[in-house]
């Protein structure tokens, strides 16, 4: 799947001098970018699938077939694994901590837990999701429990390959970002630039909108500072947040909510990045979207259909 489009959204005529300026600017920006941000390439040599139970298999994306790799199974993380964008590490949720595994063979995906794992900061509390960013320098951890009643919290860690004692996760000082409620769903965009959080109600909040409502946030990790960016203030919605799912190819996400007055459910679809894609289905009274699931089939055309499956039982 190509994650970057190979065609322009708009284009126009450019003069000789202007084209030279463009090239100069492009070269300068490339040079600055390459000097300040590490090169980003997934270093795993073949498509792999990692199971939380310890198995690693190569996969054939034409047929769907899986094939056991040499040495598998490895240590069971017993939680979903998150792959470092440079293919060096795997991360998994631990007990109020984050476990870190080093991939020792980029062909087979063989891995082992690093010395010193698991890692945590003083505010790591019921971690529920791990997000990465495109340069591979940092991860963000979404905690179900924040520092205020009913809140959640996002914090970041630096991936430190060469600290004494071996690779480690180092908490970024002052990176904690309080979010208005505890999340009900998360997703990382396939290009790793943003991660999405959909939150349910927080009855303990001082904000009356979120007390029975929901909130959606699209956050990023600043690759220069490691801080979380993109938090929208006053983003709460009065509809109760029930469920969340994202298209595996990252083109849209779906939320399930309950109308708090008339008690009907709504399944709503949004384009990612505010591109205008939006639609919804209203479910019969007393039917609430408890869970959402989106499949991954189809080609790159935006005219093809995607199917979502919805459990309306509450």
């Amino acid at each position: 799947m190509a994650l970057t489009r190979e065609f322009p959204l708009h284009s126009h005529e450019v003069s000789h001098s202007r084209s030279r300026k463009y090239w100069k600017a492009l070269i300068i920006v490339f040079a600055l970018t390459s000097a300040s941000v590490p090169s980003v390439r997934a270093q795993l040599q073949q498509p792999l699938v990692f199971s939380s139970a310890g198995a690693v298999a190569s996969r054939n994306d034409q047929t769907g077939a899986l094939k056991l790799v040499s040495g598998s199974p490895f240590t069971a993380a017993n939680q979903s694994l998150v792959i470092d964008v440079q293919g060096r590490y795997l991360f998994a949720l631990g007990a109020n901590s984050i476990r870190m595994f080093q991939i020792s063979d980029a062909t087979t995906g063989a891995y082992q837990e690093v010395t010193g794992s698991p890692f945590a900061s003083p505010v790591t509390n019921q971690p529920a999701f791990i997000a990465v960013e495109p340069t591979g320098q940092y991860i963000a951890v979404v905690n179900r429990v924040g520092q205020h009643p009913g809140d959640g919290l996002v914090e970041t860690f630096q991936i430190a390959p060469t600290v004494p004692g071996g690779p480690a996760l180092v908490p970024i000082f002052n990176s904690t970002t309080e979010i208005d409620s505890s999340p009900v769903g998360f997703a990382q965009l396939p290009n790793n630039k943003e991660f999405l959080i959909f939150m349910g109600p927080n009855p303990q909040s001082a904000n009356p909108v979120i007390q029975q409502g929901s909130e959606f946030q699209a956050l990023s990790i600043d690759p220069q500072t490691g801080f979380v960016t993109g938090l929208q203030l006053n983003a709460a919605d009065p509809e109760r947040g029930d469920s969340f799912a994202m298209d595996p190819q990252g083109r849209y996400y779906v939320t399930g909510t309950q109308d708090n007055l008339l008690e009907f459910g709504v399944v709503q679809l949004f384009g990612i990045g505010g591109n205008g894609l939006a639609g919804n289905v209203q479910l019969p009274a007393h039917n609430y979207p408890e869970n959402l699931w989106v499949d991954s089939t189809g080609g790159p055309s935006c005219t093809s259909l995607r199917r979502i499956s919805i459990n309306p039982l509450s």
Binding site: E6, H10, S11, A57, S296, T297, R306, I308, P312
Partner: protein, 128 residues
């Protein structure tokens, strides 16, 4: 468990005539390969993976011919790696086609917003 189709041009959600999904009373514990057209589930033991596609007309799961597959300790939460070269990029980038070079910027906070200009490959004229 209901099935809805998504029209990615209009955003319209429509319940499919094949809905509800027969044989399921809850969301299946399947994992979608984000780079392919396959969904992965498990058999009754910890060592059996079952591969499905989704019928584009009905939305029903269809087991592939090479399924099931025996792999020790596969039954768990699955994570899929992205093949080299298909990783997303950040910042300015360029791509080549037969007659043009396109360059554009990727905005970290909004993947849908990007601008592009096209330059003819011979640099004597430029248009898009």
């Amino acid at each position: 468990m209901n099935i809805y189709s998504v029209n990615l041009q209009s955003g319209q959600l429509t319940e499919n005539s094949s809905s509800p999904l027969p044989g399921f009373t809850a969301i299946p514990g399947y994992y979608a390969d984000p780079t392919g057209s396959f969904e992965y589930g498990f058999g009754s033991d910890a060592n059996t993976a079952i591969v499905y596609t989704v019928d584009p007309q009905t939305g029903y799961f269809v087991q592939t011919a090479n399924s099931p597959i025996t792999i020790s300790q596969i039954a768990g939460s699955l994570t899929f790696s992205i093949p080299p070269g298909q990783q997303g990029v950040s910042g300015p980038s360029a791509s080549l086609s037969a007659g043009y070079i396109y360059y554009y910027s990727h905005t970290v906070s909004n993947v849908r917003q990007r601008e592009a200009d096209a330059i003819a490959a011979d640099s004597t004229d430029a248009n898009g």
